[in-house]
Amino acid sequence: MVGISSIGVYVPRSRLDRALIAKAWGGKQPAGEKAVAFYDEDALTLAVAAAHRCLEDFDALQIDGLFFASTSSPYREKQVASVVATACDLPREILTADFAGSVRAGVSALSAAVRAVQSGQARRVLVVAADCRPAEPESDLEGVLGDAAVAVVVDGKARLAEFVASAAVAEEFTFQWRSNESSGVQSQDARFSVSHGYLRDMAEVIGRVMNEQGVGSGELAALAVGTPDARTAQQLAKEVGIDAKTRLVPSLAAQIGVTGSPDPLLQLASAVERSKDGDAIVVAAFGEGAEALLFRAAAGAGVSAVRPGVQAALDRPLALPTYEKYLKYRRILGQDETPVELVSNVLEARELQQDTRLYGTRCGECGLVQYPMARVCLQCKARQGLEPVKLKKKGKIFTYTVDHLAANLDHPMGMVVVDLEAGGRVYVQMTDCTADEVKIGAPVELTFRRLHAGGDNYNYFWKARPQ
């Protein structure tokens, strides 16, 4: 038995009202908002956030594989899966891979994880799909694309859903793409692409996996699919012969946009939340072909199956005040105001446990937990008996400032001193917040964010955000 044992969902707090896009360029936009990665977020940080939620109930030592899926990795060359694994404090001896190329990558990574566990190559694989796909200003896709991440644990326990079968096709078909020169996702003849590409391939793989397993269209409890837009999903349901109203997982496109490689997994999360033991669920995605996976919901499925819950992940949105802020935060307009600083990879490598895995030191003599890692205890001055200790990522603000002078893309910037649960005090930037959320006693959680981008090399570190 192989399947899904945990799901974590992360949606950035920032939202762009589509009316602001319409106001900027004229013309019409559909109602609603799109989720926008904050100025210090990218596909890598979204992935870390989803992974942390997914792993809340797991000892990191039990994970022996991590697959990262994205079409918008911050790097063309540099593996992101291993960065996510390190930020999650996973062991070194794990299998990692990046899946990319098309928005099918999320389902491809899930499929590969299932096979890795089936074959015995790995026992428990974390799949993380994350995207913040760029759209050109004034393009049709600008109001459509949104940002999110979903993480899924695949193992032999299949607590939430058991894998049954899969089907795939692959053939060159140009629909959406982004070349090395493109500044945003490109698209060609949507009507033809949907009817002769998307619907054809998706209906084929979904039909095949259902037929092969003898699942009739009336028996399918939920169809979870990535789509170029919400309307196309309706057409697909019709094509497959299922009742769109009751069996098609409702799209979140109006609330957060179409999120790319995590989209089918986000739909899967919603499906698992609505399922009961034994329900048939198909998850499928398109991109130069298509792949569909059939799952049966397990005993753990139901309303509390997903962390923190799909709706809860959408809670407490922060509206971007202007379209211009969106252009600035996504670095479409203007320059990064932070001075160019290249962090030495010598320092990075030497301090990985402290800065990325976020370990401090516990004094064996007096018990004080301290950060950064100490050579001599800050309190009792002991030289011996100091042990590395993993810091908790939740705490309370001890003191703060809101700094208008600090060089940063977002002004003003909160800086906070946080006392962490189970000890240790850190001094970090505040993010994802309004100025009045920065106050003494406020509960915060640490979140892995882009710190600076000197020399085209992104550096990541922990910041605090309201809990």
Binding site: Q370, P372, T401, V402, D403, L405, A406
Partner: protein, 386 residues
């Protein structure tokens, strides 16, 4: 512990005008301050046995060496040492000069503080420190962490902070050498653009150019140079962690480095805080002055704000604080500030300060704190009859 009390005398001081000294080089500042001190002490440069330069930023020609003092003054063939210790740089350079005399090694020692912040792009002070940890800190932001915690603990308000700025601007407006020579109202301070909450623009000292100098000698030969020499009663330095924001045991309502340095300096001088007639303290931000007067033992912890409210720290109050105008109004060229405070204390003890003169002082105190709270230096000076 041996005290340096009454072993070292200040026989000469000099100070440039402080401000945006766009027409002066670092060398100009050093020379102007040093030659004024030579003249004030009636000392020939050839008589200087050793010299200390307090400066924070690396010097364009001299780098991080004593050369940055020796070259402009042509002070060769003798020891010249560069001292750098955050914002306590100036007072620590002075302390080292005093120790050099008290050790018996040297008879006459020059100490100069000079800083050229306005030659730097941006805001004068380059970012230093770890590339990742604590990124985003600024000087006002770091002190604001303490101010906000203090205000949370003791209910201090921005209105009281503003009164510190009003007082120090009043003093500075009466000082011919100060950077910001204008009075401000409480409303102006409160309505100024925000820098780092709770500090608005007028809660912050400016970035300033300037230089100051002092000449110290063996007390037993001071009479050769002038009658009204001033005696060093005590000089103490103390450090605490440079990363207080990572210290889970830190209460953030005061600085232990100041408390420790003050205890030590009073002990050397054989005096109590109540004996001090005036103090030049490190008011880099308005809140810092309030905390300082507590950490120096003048007011009890939590009561500094009330002292300000009651006017006790004005020139005509019972504990005049920063009659010069302080860093707030006089300006803060980092390494120069401490030596500039010695200059003010000496001029006050000589009774030469005009409208801002404190009435008949016998003991004066100079205090720097940097880091924030990482390093603090306290110097007590007294008249010969003190």
């Amino acid at each position: 512990m041996n005290s340096i009390r009454d072993k070292v005398a200040v026989i000469g001081v000099g100070c440039t005008k402080f401000g945006d000294l766009y027409d002066m080089t670092y060398e100009d500042q050093v020379c102007e301050a040093a030659f004024e001190a030579y003249a004030d002490a009636n000392v020939d440069p050839s008589e200087i046995d050793a010299a200390y330069i307090g400066t924070y930023l690396p010097h364009a020609q001299g780098g991080k060496a004593g050369i940055s003092l020796a070259d402009p003054l042509r002070l060769y063939d003798r020891p010249v040492t560069r001292v750098e210790n955050f914002c306590a740089t100036g007072t620590d350079a002075f302390r080292n000069a005093c120790l050099a005399i008290a050790s018996g090694q040297h008879d006459i020692v020059l100490v100069v503080g000079s800083e050229k912040l306005k030659d730097r792009p941006g805001r004068g002070i380059p970012r230093i420190g770890h590339q990742i940890l604590a990124k985003g800190n600024t000087a006002p932001g770091l002190f604001a962490l303490a101010a906000n915690r203090y205000m949370h603990e003791f209910g201090l308000t921005r209105e009281t902070l503003a009164k510190v700025a009003v007082k120090n601007h009043w003093n500075g407006a009466r000082n011919p050498l100060s950077h910001l020579k204008m009075e401000v109202t409480e409303e102006q301070v409160l309505n100024a653009p925000m820098i780092a909450w709770p500090f608005g623009l007028f809660d912050c000292c400016p970035t300033t150019d300037g230089g100051a100098a002092a000449i110290v000698c063996r007390a037993d030969i001071a009479k050769r140079f002038r009658d009204d020499y001033v005696l060093v009663k005590g000089a103490a330095l103390a450090v605490a962690t440079g990363r207080p924001y990572f210290d889970p045991t830190f209460d953030y309502v005061g600085f232990r480095s100041t408390q420790a340095a003050a205890r030590n300096a009073y002990q050397q001088a054989g005096v109590e805080p109540s004996d001090i007639d005036l103090a030049e303290v490190h008011d880099c931000f308005t809140w810092t002055e309030i905390s300082n007067i507590e950490d120096l033992g003048f007011a009890k912890k939590g009561e500094g704000g009330r002292w300000v409210e009651e006017g006790r720290t004005r020139v005509d109050g019972d504990k005049p604080i920063n009659p010069s105008g302080g860093l707030k109004s006089f300006g803060h060229p980092i390494g120069a500030s401490g030596v500039r405070m010695i200059y003010e204390c000496v001029q006050q003890l000589r009774g030469k300060c005009g409208e801002r003169q404190v009435k008949d002082p016998e003991l004066a105190l100079a205090h720097n704190v940097g880091g924030p709270g990482a390093v603090s230096c306290v110097v007590v000076l007294g008249r010969q009859d003190a």
